[in-house]
């Protein structure tokens, strides 16, 4: 089995056994992507399409996009675009495209449109299914010398960091085989699923300001550092971005009152998230279809969602995805990154960049808005903290290097510090974070993935990883962060119920940094993250990140957003992954889900979905009972598959840096990373778990 699979490395995946509780033995299986066979008469018929007709399809596609500009002008003249400070603004910052993504996506969209003209003109009227038609189109190069072909090849041949198409573990799943989302005629609405899963009782329990500490053996519990590093890894490896109008303006799909727009203002790329209020007015949250990339070749029918991030653990979220962005982050002296407050905080945005990093409205008197390589830095105080730690770590290393190598240039210092910083980060993620998430056994299997041949093409981040599996951490976020800073004593373990104050309420801080950020404040946050138990990884999200009432929303619903995005990206339903990942084949009904999720949850899902076949991957994934690590078997399978690819990449593509330099810093682990880059007095050995008898605090002075 192994031997065979190595020949199919692109489809390589670590698979874990299914039944919960059993230990996982790693097998190497391929996600089955059985190629669609074209009937001979279909192939002959499609082969008869003349070059002139192929050109015409492309021209029609381009005409169609050009016609859309007129609608876009009308939208803008009616002020229908994302307004600063609106809900859509915060959401946009999560999916903010850079100019390069917009250009890539424009080309991909034109190819898609041309493809759809062919499909609608030739395949559909002849009764050729979308899948069959696409199988043909994926092998059909764009007409040589056509302007679109030229543009497309220029994109493919340009040096690219990031901006690749996501990879798929299973074939795409669209209404027409190409890009049309399954809608509410077939599936329950994204928002109604989110509302049905919301648990009022559970939420109010967590809203109250008291909490039992150390009541059981805390060594079993993850803390919020785990949650936050998970998000940090997501920011590094995947960034889906939304499509924009052709003039670059963001698309808005709801009106100012968070209601559905009139159809006349509906942009074709809109797929708003809707839920009727008690008077049958549809409340509305923005959703714009994700940007597209041209795929691996300049063929018809190969457009796929674009990943703006680099599919690698390289801290691009801190340093920037593009050279231009990276230059902006540097001081260009002594190898340092920009900072503020004497190096303690991330740099602040300049006036013209505020709205690309924070969701303040135009009249807000903004004092705080941080800048990093990724617009998502300000998504919460927690993410600000983690970005800050790695910024400090870079600058600390650069300063050390400077003191030892006085003659080094800024560039030398910068590159060396960056390489060390990334190496430390990778070690923390692969050696410490991954076992917490996947469990020791699976993590070890991932790290045992053999390297690939040096010339092997590296595979990209999987769509399933990016928009479903890695999003598990959102289920573990609390409404508020309690202030546990006063309780920072080595070995403290009293069973008192502590009266707690909150450092912040999450819903107030999303892309709107309102705290008074100081070095001390960040230490408080870090202290609390280390000692605050993460919420359970389950199908319940707290009220701060979902909107659970049929009333006008005043913040977004990330669960509904993720469900909608999974459908936008054409992911297969959950059960297909459950089947593909496990030994259990041929799932036949709801009761088969009970092998991996609590019956109570299965019953809840039955009320939401009419058919078990419809359950979205994300919802199935978060509903599974975690096994060993943090997540259930299906997410574990998808995450393991991805990290084994990452591991291969790291083995294949070593940074061009002196190994001795990296070795000098190889003793730095998570504990040291936090100690060295904060004012902490002590940090647990395992930074991803609550302190306990088996996870003792380490005094930072002892390091």
């Amino acid at each position: 089995m192994r031997q065979k699979a190595y020949l199919w490395l692109l489809n390589l995946v670590i698979i874990v056994a299914l039944s919960p509780g059993s230990s996982y033995s790693a097998n190497v299986l391929a996600f089955q992507q059985s190629p669609i066979s074209l009937r001979k008469d279909v192939r002959d018929y499609l082969n008869r399409i003349s070059p002139a007709e192929w050109m015409e399809f492309l021209t029609s596609g381009i005409d169609s996009i050009n016609r859309q500009k007129r609608l876009e002008d009308n939208l803008l003249s009616s002020d229908i675009t994302v307004q600063n400070g609106s809900l859509s603004h915060a959401q946009l910052l999560d999916t903010l495209p850079n100019e390069k993504s917009q250009l890539d996506s424009d080309i991909a969209l034109k190819i898609l449109k041309g493809t759809l003209f062919m499909y609608n003109s030739k395949c559909l009227p002849r009764g050729i299914s979308g899948d069959e038609c696409r199988a043909f189109l994926e092998t059909k190069p764009l007409p040589e010398g056509s302007p679109l072909s030229v543009e497309c090849n220029r994109v493919l041949q340009s040096p690219r960091t990031g901006h690749h198409a996501f990879r798929r573990l299973l074939p795409r799943n669209y209404k027409n085989g190409f890009h049309e989302m399954f809608g509410e005629d077939k599936l329950p609405g994204a928002w109604s699923i989110s509302m049905a899963l919301y648990d009022q009782e559970n939420d109010s329990l967590h809203r109250t300001g008291s909490r039992t500490r150390a009541d059981t053996d805390d060594s079993d519990y993850s803390n919020l550092v785990l949650v936050q590093f998970s998000q940090f890894v997501e920011h590094d490896m995947s960034k889906t971005v939304s499509q924009s109008m052709s003039n670059g303006y963001p698309i808005e799909c709801c009106n100012r009152n968070q209601n559905n727009l009139q159809p006349r203002f509906h942009h074709p790329l809109c797929a708003p998230i809707l839920y009727n209020d008690k008077n049958n007015w549809p409340n509305c949250l923005n959703y714009v279809r994700s940007a597209l990339a041209v795929g691996e070749r300049c063929n018809f029918g190969s457009a796929e969602q674009l990943n703006q991030a680099t599919g690698n653990l390289d801290l691009s979220q801190l340093y920037g995805f593009t050279d231009a962005a990276e230059r902006k982050m540097r001081t260009l002296t002594n190898g340092a990154l920009k900072s503020s407050l004497h190096g303690k905080l991330l740099p602040m945005t300049s006036d013209d960049e505020d709205h690309r990093f924070c969701a303040w409205n135009n009249s807000a008197n903004v004092t705080t808005c941080f800048i990093a390589g990724d617009s998502r830095v300000n998504s919460s105080p927690l993410s600000i903290l983690v970005y800050t730690i790695f910024m400090r770590n870079h600058n600390r290393i650069a300063a050390e290097l400077l003191s030892r190598h006085k003659t080094w240039t800024d560039e030398q210092l910068y590159q060396a510090a960056k390489a060390v910083n990334i190496d430390i980060y990778r070690r923390v993620i692969m050696r410490e974070w991954l076992p917490e998430v996947l469990g020791q056994k699976t993590a070890a299997d991932v790290l045992a993935t053999p390297p690939v041949a040096a010339d092997e093409r590296l595979s990209e981040v999987s769509n399933e990883f990016a928009v479903a599996a890695i999003r598990f951490y959102l289920s573990m976020l609390p409404n508020a962060l309690h202030n546990l800073a006063s309780d920072n004593k080595v070995g403290s373990s009293n069973n008192n119920i502590l009266p707690l104050t909150n450092i912040f309420e999450l819903q107030n801080e999303i892309y709107k940094p309102q705290l008074q950020y100081t070095s001390k404040k960040l230490s408080e946050i870090l202290q609390s993250l280390l000692h605050e138990r993460a919420m359970k990884m389950d199908a319940f999200y707290v009220g701060a990140i979902v909107w659970h009432e049929p009333t006008k929303p005043t913040h977004a619903d990330v669960l509904a957003f993720d469900i909608q995005r999974g459908r936008d990206h054409g992911l297969q339903p959950y059960y297909k992954y459950l089947e593909a990942c496990g030994n259990k084949k041929n799932i036949a009904g709801w009761s088969d889900f009970e092998a991996v999720m609590p019956k109570k949850i299965v019953d809840k899902l039955r009320n939401v979905y009419q058919r078990w076949r419809d359950v979205d991957l994300l919802i199935g994934g978060i509903s599974e009972q975690p096994v060993d690590g943090t997540v259930g078997p299906t997410f574990k399978c998808i995450l393991a598959e991805q990290f084994s690819k990452i591991h291969q990449r790291q083995q294949q593509r070593q940074l061009p840096t002196d190994d001795s330099l990296l070795r000098a810093y190889s003793a730095i682990n998570g504990t040291k990373l936090l100690c060295l880059n904060s004012d902490m007095v002590s940090v647990p050995q395992n930074i991803f778990r609550l302190q306990s008898n088996s996870n003792r605090l380490v005094k930072c002075d002892d390091i």
């Binding site: 009937r39 008469d41 279909v42 002959d44 018929y45 015409e56 029609s60 005409d63 169609s64 016609r67 859309q68 007129r70 609608l71 002008d73 009308n74 939208l75 003249s77 009616s78 759809l116 003209f117 609608n120 003109s121 559909l124 009227p125 002849r126 009764g127 050729i128 299914s129 005629d185 559905n260 009139q262 159809p263 006349r264 203002f265 509906h266 008077n279 049958n280 007015w281 549809p282």
Partner: protein
């Protein structure tokens, strides 16, 4: 020809007068078989319920509160008390709330004083419905034949009859009482519509439902008798606008099917009346010729889209400018193409802009004048049947004059097609709109020019790449978001274009006509197979995809779409086969009539096919 100046109708102006209103006259005796003695004097017919549903403070207050996602909901609700009493209650309500009620208070007022929408109508199964109309025998393909049967069944879902109370207490309703049951378009359109009825009636005739068809025509004629013209649809709030005047076309369709010349002759007076009335109230002069434009005679925003209109009027700063804007919008509604870049004239004289650039009243439309030409021809033809030689000559002359005006003002040699004419900038509007081809449909051109016109129009079609769209000819090529613009395709205009190309008779035009006709049938079928619905509008870029845009969601039903398909199943059914393609293998089309009927029996859609697996 008659009058150049605008003659705003006096009849309905009293509708604007403040309360107290004179109680409406009793309905005249409904015309049945004979339609004599139409009073040429314009009758004053006053809809008492207009103070609630057409204008006034109550309408304004309720509609601006935006209680319902569709603004049309409120104006279709029934009154619980008389209009006068309701207005009194409303005034008291406003006084009690210091003239500033909250939306919840307004909602309560509406709930207290109005009943549900549409309760005045009950579903009516046409009594002359037949299970297997003969046109089905003309359809070879079994799936298309079953579809034809389904469409015939849908008439039963679209039939509506007014409850007796409407005739007894019309002032409690916004519906305009008519004597006979009707077939409605469907969806939010729960009452009859004027030009929709043309294609509906033709569909009914193909389905051998002559009584239903005649009843609908007689309804329209009774309205002409009562108020002089036919409003946009069967609601009092459409009181200031008509729609493309196709009553004569409907009568002609009926007479062509039934050979009932008597009916044609009896209709003459009403047809003449409607024709003269329309001309009187819509004429303009362009390049020294008399032509017609769309024009509305009421005041205020469209009651059924009130807040929407108020919002687009916000860009105008004086009451007069706002009122002008409302007029442009309602005139566009009269055209049936509400809304479209077709009606925009911006300050540069182009069609780029949005609703605030609507200048409908200053655009001479090709289709309206072609239809008026056809009206005159039909009236002349009916007079010939009656042996009224003088009258026949009179209307032939009128038709001739309209044709000359169309040729002189609207035909554009350079474009090779007819074009709407911009009265403000005194220039043709060289923008593609399906209605540019309307003269072909009614033969409003010199027959001696046939070959030349055919060649010109075909090259116009080529130039605009109209044959590249898999889902039909889009209404325009301008994607504005309005529903009568790109990419929407509408059955009636598809019909006008395709029948027009057929009518001109050259082999090339007929070849294109047939290819487009087949495509339309197949594409509509694909949409129906996938969604089991017939749509109000379709999407030019998609084979089997429905349209969007405008101010309400896409509607299903749908009267005129069904009518067109039924007619074309009869026309093309012997030559279209869904499976006879090079691509479809023996197992690609496996739905046999028997097999699917078995599925249908156990399916939720009794009497309908389920095509889910077709094409797979």
């Amino acid at each position: 020809m008659i009058n150049i100046n605008v003659l705003y109708p006096i009849i309905l102006c009293c509708c604007l007068a403040a309360v107290p209103q004179v109680r409406a006259k009793h309905l005249p005796e409904y015309v049945a078989e004979s339609a004599n003695a139409i009073d040429k004097e314009v009758e004053t017919y006053n809809f008492t319920s207009c103070q609630i549903y057409c204008y006034g403070p109550l309408l304004h207050t309720v509609q601006m509160a935006k209680l319902f996602p569709d603004s049309k909901t409120f104006v279709d609700m029934k009154l619980k008390a008389s209009p006068e009493k309701t207005m009194e209650l409303f005034e008291a309500f406003m006084a009690s709330k210091n003239n500033a009620p909250t939306n919840d208070e307004i909602r309560k007022f509406v709930n207290d004083n109005f009943g549900d929408k549409g309760t005045e109508l009950e579903v009516w199964s046409p009594t002359d419905w037949v299970e297997n109309p003969a046109f089905l025998n003309l359809v070879n393909d079994p799936d298309l034949k079953q579809w034809g049967m389904d469409l015939n069944n849908i008439w039963k879902e679209l039939g509506r009859k007014m409850k007796d109370d409407v005739h007894k207490n019309p002032e409690y309703y916004s519906i305009i009482p008519v004597p006979n049951p009707v077939i409605v378009p469907g969806g939010r359109f729960i009452e009859f519509y004027y030009w929709d009825s043309y294609w509906i009636i033709r569909g009914l005739l193909y389905c051998e439902m002559r009584n239903t068809a005649r009843g609908m025509i007689e309804n329209l004629m009774s309205i002409v008798q009562r108020i002089g013209f036919i409003p946009n649809g069967g609601r009092v709030y459409y009181w200031g606008r008509s729609q493309p005047p196709l009553l004569a076309g409907m009568v002609k369709s009926y007479v062509d099917f039934t050979k009932d010349d008597r009916f044609a002759i009896n209709a003459l007076e009403i047809l003449e009346h409607e024709f003269e009335y329309f001309i009187n109230n819509h004429s303009v002069q362009a390049k020294g010729h008399d032509l017609a434009v769309y024009r509305d005679s009421s005041k205020g925003p469209r009651p059924e889209s009130y807040s929407e209109d108020v919002e687009t009027a916000e860009s105008f700063h004086t009451d007069e400018a706002k009122e002008d804007h409302y007029s442009e919008l309602k005139s566009a509604a009269e055209s049936g193409m509400d809304f479209s870049s077709r009606w925009y004239i911006n300050e540069n004289g182009t069609n780029i802009g949005n609703l605030s650039d609507a200048k409908t009243r200053s655009i001479v439309p090709v289709d309206l004048n072609a239809i008026l030409y056809w009206n005159a021809k039909i009236i002349a033809e009916f007079h010939a049947k009656a042996g009224n030689v003088d009258k026949m000559a009179e209307y032939e002359t009128k038709a001739q004059k309209i044709k000359e005006a169309i040729q002189a003002v609207l035909w554009n040699e350079e474009a090779g097609c007819w074009l709407d004419y911009d009265l403000i900038n005194e220039k043709p509007r060289d923008y593609f709109v399906t209605s540019n081809l309307a003269p072909l449909w009614v033969k409003a051109y010199n027959i001696s020019d046939t070959d030349k016109i055919s060649a010109s129009v075909l090259s116009y079609i080529e130039k605009n790449k109209l044959d590249t769209f898999p889902g039909g000819v889009p209404n325009t090529l301008y994607h504005t978001g309005e529903q009568w613009d790109f990419p929407n395709v509408w059955a009636p205009l598809q019909y006008i274009v395709i029948e027009g190309l057929d009518n001109i008779g050259t082999p090339e035009a007929q070849k294109l006509s047939k290819s487009w006709g087949h495509r339309w049938v197949k594409s509509n079928f694909a949409a129906y197979r996938d969604s089991r619905a017939m749509f109000e509008k379709y999407d030019a870029e998609k084979f089997g995809g429905h349209g969007g845009g405008g101010e309400y969601g896409v509607q299903k039903g749908f009267g005129w779409t069904n009518g067109v398909i039924i007619e074309w199943l009869a026309k093309y059914g012997h030559e279209i086969s869904l499976s006879n393609t090079g691509a479809a293998g023996p197992n690609s089309r496996f739905v046999s009539l028997l097999g699917v009927t078995a599925i249908a029996l156990i399916g939720a859609f009794a009497g309908r096919f389920i095509w889910r697996t077709w094409f797979k």
